[in-house]
Each structure stands twice: as structure tokens, then as C-alpha cells.
């Protein structure tokens, strides 16, 4: 079984597969983005309280969700790589980090841009915002650690440990609005009972969320491909691949 997975996850096969997947997900991502942005900017109604500024929701919420999701992916892939020694997983974990950092940055930036007109402040030190900022630091620390350790295998394993230590932060971010009285609002969509958002706004929001997800998958695969090429530059299959291409 394990051998089977390993073979499937051999760098060569993965490279070929990822080339295809990038195309599919890239295409889907583009379509969804167009639909979501048009839906969000043109077709969705303004909010009864927030007016037009509510349109920031279509970029803020997906970014924020992805910032958490990517961290889980990073820690999960890292752990799998750590335990079963699957190279591909290490590469995926490592390539997720810059994307996760970008999403976190976007969540912080769009949140601030939304907070200024709505709350009246760019920034407050409440639990949600603070823990999200710590998430950004965690991503940056992970990236710094990766670049500081030479040996890729060792870097991947060390990174996995760091990611696992930091994962405590994820539930804190998610539940902070319930545990503490924050300025940030409580859950809207992710409530278990009916979401308290009108369907006309929910649809573009979900479209955008899907678009972000497809974007993440294709972007992470692209990065992983680069890393793989660099890692395996001396192996036979890379030589053949490049040799064919340059001819």
C-alpha cells in the first residue's frame, strides 16, 4: 500500500500530474474569479447597515479562511512528510508557506481597510486581530527557517516541527470571537445553523471562496514544481525532460 502511494508520489509522476492539474485548476480559478468579482461588485446588493463597503467581504473572508486552511495544509503535509518520508509532501508544505503568508497579509490588510470605515479604527488589539498577526509571524518564521537550513530534507522536517508547534494558534484564531469579547464580529457563514447572510451575498462569497481555493491549488503546484526541479536537478528524469525541451 505504502509502496503504491510512494510510487504514485514519485517526483516524476507528480511533476507530470501537476502540469495537468495546474491547467485545470488555473482555468477553473479564472472562471470563478470572474464570476465572483462580477457577482460581488455588480450584482450583489449593498448591505442594510454597511452600504457598499460590504463588498470588501468578498475578498476579506476568503483570504482569512485561506490563511487558516493553508496553515493546516502546511502542517498536515509537513507531518505526513515527517512520518512517512514522502518527498512530495515536504515540497508541498514548503511551497504553501509563502502563499499562506500572502493570504494572511491580505486578510490583515483588507480587514484593516474594512475596519477603518466600519469600526472607526485601522487596528485594535483584540484577540482575533492579534492572533491573526501572530499567524503571519509564524509563517514568516517558517519561511526564514526553511531558507536557513541548507539540506532540504532536514529543512522540511524542522519546518514540520515548527508548524506543529504553531498549530495551537489556529483554534485560537477561529474561536477567539466566541471566547473573548472582541471587536471583530462573530461567525456569519460558518455558523452551524442557517448562515445569517442573505443568499444574494452568500453566492458571490462562496464563488470567491472556491476561486481562492482553486487559486491556491494551482499556485502551490506551480511552486512545488519549481522546488522539485531544483531538488532533483541531477536525477535522470529531469535531465531527460529538460533535454527534450531544449531540443
Amino acid at each position: 500500500m505504502l509502496r503504491h502511494i510512494n510510487q504514485f508520489a514519485s517526483p516524476k509522476n507528480f511533476y507530470a500530474l501537476s502540469c495537468k492539474l495546474v491547467h485545470y485548476f488555473g482555468g477553473a480559478c479564472l472562471l470563478l474569479f470572474v464570476a465572483g468579482v462580477f457577482g460581488g461588485l455588480l450584482f450583489s446588493p449593498p448591505d442594510y447597515q454597511q452600504g457598499e463597503s460590504v463588498r470588501i467581504i468578498y475578498v476579506h473572508v476568503p483570504s482569512a479562511w485561506m490563511s487558516l486552511f493553508v496553515y493546516i495544509v502546511m502542517a498536515g503535509a509537513g507531518t505526513i512528510g515527517l512520518i512517512w518520508r514522502i518527498k512530495i509532501m515536504d515540497v508541498i508544505a514548503r511551497s504553501s508557506a509563502p502563499l499562506g503568508a500572502s493570504f494572511t497579509f491580505l486578510a490583515l490588510a483588507t480587514g484593516s481597510l474594512w475596519g477603518k470605515p466600519m469600526w472607526g479604527a485601522w487596528w485594535v488589539w483584540d484577540a482575533r486581530l492579534t492572533s491573526e498577526l501572530i499567524l503571519l509571524f509564524l509563517y514568516l518564521g517558517y519561511i526564514a527557517l526553511q531558507s536557513a537550513i541548507e539540506d532540504p530534507r532536514m529543512a522540511a522536517r524542522a519546518g514540520a516541527i515548527l508548524a506543529l508547534i504553531g498549530i495551537i494558534n489556529i483554534p485560537i484564531i477561529h474561536f477567539s470571537v466566541e471566547w473573548w469579547s472582541t471587536l471583530h464580529q462573530g461567525p456569519t457563514v460558518s455558523k452551524l445553523d442557517a448562515p445569517s447572510i442573505h443568499i444574494d451575498m452568500l453566492i458571490p462569497l462562496l464563488l470567491m471562496a472556491l476561486a481562492y481555493m482553486c487559486y491556491f491549488i494551482s499556485a502551490v503546484l506551480m511552486r512545488a514544481r519549481c522546488d522539485l526541479l531544483a531538488l532533483e536537478r541531477n536525477s535522470a528524469w529531469v535531465g531527460e525532460l529538460i533535454g527534450e525541451r531544449s531540443r
Binding site: D47, Y48, W119, G120, S181, L183, T188, S196, M201
Partner: protein
């Protein structure tokens, strides 16, 4: 092998015990209040600091907002449906500042019990809907679901 297994069992027990204690403590902590802001009830009960700035949160009472026509000074009453606190503020209010909606004010308690704010933040709820729907709901006299600011003790 035996010794190895014993070590593993020992380690697992250790970790499980530790995690249990830690979560118990954390849960206990959440039952206490780790406040980002105080409610009017707490302020009236004297639980808020007297000499230094703190945050207070609640709903703006209907029809309590008084604007000074000469300058930007505003006065309004904050409530958590049990107790109230009067707030004065000199500055531009955020867009979401409405009567009946939640705000968080940052400032000091004066000796006369009036809260002098140097910052007013609007706390909004988690409901999103088009204005027409909100009007329709209002017409049907359905309350828009509970506002999360109000957590009476």
C-alpha cells in the same frame, strides 16, 4: 521491545495528562472574564478601573444621542439592557454608529460617573442583508436576531 513499549506508554500518558490539565485550566480561565471591554453593568458594579483608560461596550440607547450644534461633541447613553452609562465624545463617529446598535468606546471614567471617550468604535453584528430585506423584516416586526454585543451577566 518491552522496554521500548513501556517508554512509549509512559510518554503517551504523560502527554495526555499534561494536555488534560492544560485544557482544564484554560476552560476555567474562559469562565472568568478576560475582557476586551467592560459592560455597563460591570461599570456600575464598580468593576471597572477608575483612574486609567479602559474600553466599554454596549448598545446605544434609542433616542439618547445629543449632538452639540457648535462643535463635534456628542453625548449618548450606552446600555446592556440592564444598566446604563452616559458617554461623551469629541470627534467624528464611525459610519456604523446608529441608535440601537453596538459600540465600543475607549476612554476614562470621570468622577461624576460619566464616561469620557477619546475613541468610539462601532461594533457591528454578523447579519448581512440588502436594505429591502431589512425593511421588509422591520415591517413584519421581526427582530433582527440577537446582537452579539449584549451578553448580560
Amino acid at each position: 521491545m518491552n522496554r521500548k513499549r513501556r517508554n512509549v506508554v509512559f510518554a503517551v500518558c504523560f502527554i495526555v495528562a499534561g494536555m488534560t490539565i492544560a485544557t482544564t485550566l484554560a476552560l476555567k480561565a474562559f469562565r472568568e472574564n478576560l475582557l476586551y471591554f467592560y459592560s455597563p453593568s460591570q461599570v456600575q458594579a464598580g468593576k471597572a478601573p477608575q483612574s486609567r483608560p479602559f474600553r466599554i461596550g454596549g448598545l446605544v440607547e434609542e433616542k439618547s444621542v445629543v449632538r452639540n450644534p457648535d462643535n463635534l461633541t456628542v453625548q449618548f447613553v450606552l446600555t446592556d439592557t440592564m444598566q446604563t452609562v452616559t458617554v461623551v465624545y469629541d470627534g467624528i463617529l464611525p459610519d456604523l454608529f446608529r441608535e440601537g446598535k453596538g459600540v465600543v468606546a475607549n476612554g476614562k471614567l470621570r468622577s461624576d460617573g460619566v464616561f469620557e471617550a477619546f475613541e468610539v468604535l462601532a461594533k457591528h453584528d454578523e447579519n448581512y442583508m440588502p436594505p429591502e430585506v431589512a425593511d421588509a423584516l422591520a415591517a413584519a416586526n421581526k427582530p433582527i436576531t440577537v446582537n452579539s454585543v449584549v451578553k448580560p451577566e
